[in-house]
């Protein structure tokens, strides 16, 4: 049964330790429908999320964080939701920031709002972000934040086939949105350290190198494609 026009999407892969807490905290903030996309977890993630009151979509094979997020967006579109928020299942993102993240979209001032927290990155990560910002022309501080709000046009773009072969919800997604003429706003939000485990994307130096190389190739292939005038210049802060 639909509670609101906003769905909160949580891609989750082996997050049994934190997912129930994340779902409960979101439901405390407002009557939002929470959809957990279980990315072929081998633990109790789906059961814990279900018990906490989330709607659970079970992917039969692991598609990665972006593949799972896109599943949620496609499902949300099918169910008639008009806005979605994406959040990590590891407890880094604070559900109390959801209403603030939604405000620019409700006021129709932006199509995409990125909850950013650049303080959390290491010096090496900040250096990489600066490099990729320079390459792409993207004027966004936190390029990898998974805490984002999307309105209907952004959802439709991200649900399209064009976005299916992307690997991460970061620069590739931002470039696609930007080149579609959608307005992106960044909002500083507080985040906390992950409650358990470590980053799945950057689990080893090999994976970090692979991520950097793939992103470098992606940025090079989209060089000079960004229409920088489409940015919403005023950055909000929470």
């Amino acid at each position: 049964m639909r509670g609101s026009s906003l769905a909160v999407l949580i891609p989750a892969w082996n997050e049994e330790a934190t997912v129930a807490d994340v779902v409960s905290k979101i439901r405390e903030v407002g009557p939002y429908d929470v959809i957990v996309i279980n990315d072929a977890s081998t633990d109790q993630t789906a059961d814990r999320a279900d018990a906490a009151g989330a709607k659970v979509l079970n992917l039969p094979v692991n598609l990665g964080a972006w593949g799972a997020t896109q599943t949620g967006i496609r499902f949300a579109l099918k169910k008639g939701y008009r806005q979605v928020i994406t959040m990590d299942a590891d407890g880094q993102h604070l559900s109390s920031a959801i209403p603030h993240l939604m405000a620019p979209i409700a006021a129709q001032k932006a199509d995409v709002v990125i909850g950013s927290c650049t303080e959390r990155g290491s010096h090496a990560r900040k250096l990489a972000w600066r490099f990729f910002r320079g390459m792409t022309g993207l004027e966004i501080e936190d390029l990898t934040s998974g805490f984002r709000a999307y309105d209907l046009p952004a959802m439709k773009m991200l649900a399209s086939k064009k976005a299916t072969l992307l690997e991460y919800q970061d620069i590739g997604v931002l470039l696609l949105l930007m080149n579609s003429g959608l307005r992106i706003q960044e909002m500083k939000v507080p985040m906390r350290l992950r409650l358990s485990g470590s980053s799945k994307i950057f689990s080893s130096w090999f994976k970090v190198a692979e991520y950097l190389l793939l992103t470098l190739i992606l940025c090079t292939s989209h060089f000079m494609k960004v229409k920088s005038h489409l940015y919403v210049s005023n950055r909000g802060t929470l």
């Binding site: 049964m1 996309i37 709607k55 659970v56 979509l57 079970n58 992917l59 039969p60 094979v61 598609l63 593949g67 896109q70 599943t71 496609r74 499902f75 099918k78 086939k161 064009k162 299916t164 072969l165 992307l166 690997e167 590739g172 692979e210 190389l213 793939l214 190739i217 992606l218 090079t220 292939s221 989209h222 494609k225």
Partner: protein, 139 residues
């Protein structure tokens, strides 16, 4: 006949052209970016081989390869590269389809679960109504 280009420039141009084609294919969303690492690597290797022919020749001598009419082999290898690239393009297309089908399965299962839950609630409501009617007729 006097050559138009030196060997270095020929291979450098071939390498750069491969790199540009790969970047163009990624830009057009035809080639999966994950498949591109290999191809960019090949392109860089060709450029390297063009600019350092002496080292490559020395390496060949070390391995006992010293045969000048290598052009036919190079052309043959070029055709093989084109064939493999076309296979990677097809693989990217299939991967896109597979991902969307996987997503669709998860979505359909979710919708089915919802429909079953609604059906269950409706059955329970009907059962309660039936009980009420029976109770009233008993009275």
């Amino acid at each position: 006949m006097k050559p138009l280009l030196s060997y270095q420039w020929t291979t450098a141009i071939i390498g750069l052209m491969i790199a540009l084609v790969i970047l163009f294919l990624i830009r057009r969303d035809i080639l999966h970016v994950k498949r591109s690492l290999w191809w960019i690597g090949i392109a860089l290797l060709i450029v390297f081989m063009g600019f350092f022919p002496l080292q490559i020749a020395q390496f060949g001598v070390l391995l006992g390869v010293n045969y000048p009419p290598i052009l036919i082999l190079t052309i043959g290898m070029g055709f093989i590269l084109i064939k493999i690239l076309s296979m990677d393009l097809e693989r990217s297309r299939q991967e896109r389809t597979l991902r969307r089908l996987t997503q669709k399965i998860a979505m359909l299962e979710g919708l089915q679960k919802e429909a079953k839950a609604v059906e269950k609630i409706e059955l329970m409501t009907q059962g309660e109504k039936l009980n009420d009617t029976n109770n009233r007729s008993d009275i």
